[in-house]
């Protein structure tokens, strides 16, 4: 794997450490950190900072019986841990968890582009995208922040080239048209906090059906 060139920003890592990201973005952060030593270290630094803040908190008064209840519960067997999915092929563990341990079930979007939605709620959505070599993701803008992590292959848009492990951070102002590089199909994990807006007429009509 080539060296990762495009990393997460400090505010994104801080927000993840503090638990202040919508789940769709959390998935991209967790997946990138699984692949990137540098961002793992930086996330660790933010957690250290969180711990340092915790140390300085004044603290709240506790109910009288809580300490005894906790001490009495030490001997009870620990709750059974849920099975944690492992990394499988190009998919790091958090993506496998979002896939519920199964391989992706692609849905065709046209032009050979496929997707599987992993997660969608009022705060945002996360999906896997499969883009054949040389093919463009339909021209789109997006309402807010878009995070795209490359899991296989590479893509390029007007801001530059993104290889495996790289994450593109696109603000609402960026209208871009990523094109998959020649080589293996490009597989990405993408998260947005609003539905993507497509500019070509047909994809826009299809948007409600595909939830892209």
């Amino acid at each position: 794997m080539a060296e990762i060139e495009h990393h997460l920003t400090e505010p994104l890592l801080a927000a993840y450490a503090a638990g202040n990201l919508p789940q769709a973005y959390e998935l991209v952060v967790a997946a990138h950190v699984s692949l990137c030593v540098e961002c793992r270290a930086r996330l660790g630094a933010h957690e250290n900072a969180g711990g340092a803040v915790l140390e300085t908190l004044p603290g709240a008064a506790l109910s009288a019986g809580l300490r005894d209840r906790v001490m009495a519960a030490l001997d009870a067997p620990p709750p059974a841990a849920a099975a944690v999915p492992r990394r499988s092929g190009i998919f790091p563990a958090p993506v496998m968890a979002a896939l519920k341990g199964q391989p992706p079930r692609w849905k065709t979007l046209g032009g050979g582009v496929r997707q599987q939605i992993l997660q969608a709620d009022a705060e945002g959505s996360a999906r896997l995208l499969y883009i054949p070599p040389g093919v463009a993701v339909p021209d789109h803008g997006h309402g807010g922040l878009e995070l795209t992590l490359v899991l296989q292959g590479a893509f390029s848009d007007k801001t530059g080239g993104f290889g495996t492990g790289d994450v593109e951070i696109a603000g609402p102002e960026l209208e871009h048209q990523p094109v998959a590089d020649i080589g293996p199909p490009c597989i990405c994990l993408a998260a947005t906090d609003a539905p993507l807006r497509f500019h070509a007429l047909i994809p826009r009509l299809l948007q409600p059906f595909f939830r892209i």
Partner: protein, 218 residues
Amino acid sequence: MFADTALAAPLDHRALAVPSGVAKAQAKGRPRAVTHPTDTAMSDATRWMLAVRDGRDRAAFARLYDHFAPRLKGMAMRGGLNAAFAEDVVQDVMLTVWHKAAQFDPGVAPVSAWVYRIARNRQIDMARKRARPLPEELIEEASEPDSQQIYAMEQEVGFLQGALARLAPEQRQIIEKAYMGELSHSEIQAETGLALGTIKSRIRLGLERLRHELKELR
């Protein structure tokens, strides 16, 4: 273990006093930080946590409870929970600290950061009623954290707390809000750019450590 009686006196220290071979065996056969640095180089919380991990020391756990439980309740309430819910989180987090103690590694994260992460994950899981996406765990077996690493981590905590203390009050408030989950991502982006710079110098150390560990894994 010397020159430390004042600090150590109230606490049962049997767990740290066992010969290293025994401590190793207790740690489920994994290579462990058995060469503890002199206690003076370690914070109270680290010593308590190691006593819980290696000796299942209840007295040490009670110390950890007294130290962290009120702060954890404060953190949960700042995150928007009412007092009763916040105490559920406290109970849950403290029991996780007890049950998952074997995963604590003072060369990787200080106790405060380890507890902070457990609390944050727990609070989110409870709010969403589903598991939060988490990064893969590094396989730590291959690396034997040494006293130097633990010392470096303790130092990092000292630097961070010093840096926090030196911030101007309004900046410090922003940092507190950011890490207590009271700022959105865009607010963090907008407001903390400068303040976050104060922790950046600490990142290099963690990176060196990880690179070192990964080299050993190859």
